[in-house]
Chain length 316, copies 2
């Protein structure tokens, strides 16, 4: 009920934001249009096709036919869009869950999908891509993007820390300290300035979409971050990198890290209950585990253990 | 389903944003703390109390007792907050719909509430305040804020128009023109720069919360805007002003208009299907009607008629 207030109450806003995210959309475009020899005469499946933009790129790249599947109402607009661009003989759009719809082909050569959520795995749309892969991909076929990494680094950002944590100590003269731990527990997404980063980054997990299993999407990884300058760590941040590479003559990649152009995924922020003061060259070691919430498999439970203490964060 | 992606997935984010909106929160604070003689020994009802901040201001202003009612889970945090500030003998918090809960007093002297939504009336929380007024307010008692106005003006903002409307003509080389009218139809909220305003404003509606009726919250008003310079109108914008005034020695007011400090309500934008070119001094006359959506009374259907043509906008 509360949440509804800040819902994007425009039904197209999410698609508008994704299309306007040039890092995202141009990466998919370049991966396809710069690798036309790979797409020539291929059958392509677009999982979660939205407005159909990726399906249209695939046709432009030379695919003989593209099937787009989406369970959202947006697919009716995608049908209009495909007609508007004269591509209705090249693209078949199906409304429904990928798990339920019947495709016009038993097998496809290439699966494309933009399934990524915050911290890569929030909302778990990759699960559906793996179903599509196991059910429809020809032997030797490929899923793109194929490689994804999840990384962590640490920041010293007291502007953010004051706004999100210390704020509750004095709210117009009243104490709301009891809200602090509740707020910290909810990982948030925000665009982090790269000059607040105080350690080198560490890759926690590499996922190869062409052969990973569902069980790989829950993981536990050690990390070891080295301070690049003296500073007080106020938060760990997580982000992901995406690679379109195997079998391609012109690989494409993009990063959602703080050093790169911001995307609509921003960075995921794990605020510390207490800032940690460290000197340049010192290391902070820890373990991050990422699990699905049993009660709601689209949401994530992330635990961060460092200095012998475990901190739980949720994304829901 | 689509919308969930951009949900504020933090449960506290809405309260955090409202508290951090200084224009909003300090106006309520100043209205109470600058009018202590009015609050002294009064029984106050806070409708939709959230974190309890307004209830605590009321105690600080001298109220003998405050009852806060909220149907959201946030009230459990409000209970902790009230205890943390040692005000548990002064504030009674009740979880539930105002229409359903049983108050510890049959009548109250003052009702306070921060019920305003986008374009003032989106989400219709004022309906509940009117129930509280008619059921619990003592004869001669007051509801604050007491006066609200809704205004309209026009802007020439091609940056916004390109992003939201013309964008669909060429999306990475494809046409998505069919989405234009769908996008325009959904009124959006955005922070509008005051230097894009090209007409004077016009007050559409004044609501006196102390004696208005439910039927007053759906209205139809003529407007007449005069161009303050030559320009092409790309959108009408709506906003509201809030007044705490009757019986107060120190009245307080704030505006959510483009000339004022931005608030979390921003401005409501009604994009034009086609920009309208006008000269300085020329007038644009029209009629705006605002109705509840019968299928979902929290959402609004707004029609704008000008140049003999009617345009429908929805907020849902």
């Amino acid at each position: 009920e509360d949440e509804s207030y800040f819902d994007s109450y425009s039904h197209f806003d999410i698609h508008h934001q994704m299309l306007q995210d040039k890092v995202r959309t141009e990466s998919y475009r370049d991966f396809m249009l710069n690798n036309k020899e790979y797409f020539k005469d291929k059958i392509v499946l677009d999982v979660g096709c939205g407005t159909g933009i990726l399906s249209m790129f695939a046709v432009k790249a030379g695919a003989s036919h593209v099937i787009g599947v989406d369970q959202s109402e947006i697919i009716y607009q995608a049908m209009d869009i495909v007609r508007e661009n004269g591509l209705e003989n090249k693209i078949t759009l199906l409304k429904g869950r990928l798990e339920d719809v019947e495709l016009p082909y038993k097998q496809v050569d290439i699966i494309i999908s933009e399934w990524m959520g915050y911290f890569l795995l929030f909302e778990s749309m990759l699960d559906t891509v793996l179903v599509a892969r196991d059910r429809y991909l020809k032997p030797g076929g490929m899923v793109f993007p194929d490689i994804c990494t999840i990384s962590v680094t640490a920041i010293s950002d007291f502007k953010l820390y004051n706004k999100d944590v210390l704020f509750w100590d004095d709210v117009y003269g009243f104490k709301m300290t009891c809200l602090k731990s509740e707020v910290i527990k909810e990982a948030c997404v925000d665009i982090i300035k790269n000059d607040t980063v105080v350690t080198d980054p560490c890759v926690l997990k590499t996922i190869d979409v062409s052969d990973c299993q569902l069980s790989d999407l829950q993981f536990k990884s050690e990390f070891n971050l080295t301070m690049t300058r003296d500073g007080e760590i106020t938060a760990f941040i997580g982000y992901f990198n995406i690679y379109f590479q195997k079998h391609l003559s012109q690989p494409v990649e993009f990063s959602t890290g703080p050093e790169a152009t911001p995307t609509h995924w921003k960075q995921t922020v794990f605020l510390l209950p207490k800032p940690l003061s460290l000197k340049k060259g010192e290391e902070i070691k820890g373990v991050l585990s990422c699990k699905k919430n049993r009660k709601d498999p689209r949401s994530l439970v992330i635990s961060l253990t460092y200095n012998d203490k475990r901190h739980i964060y949720i994304m829901e």
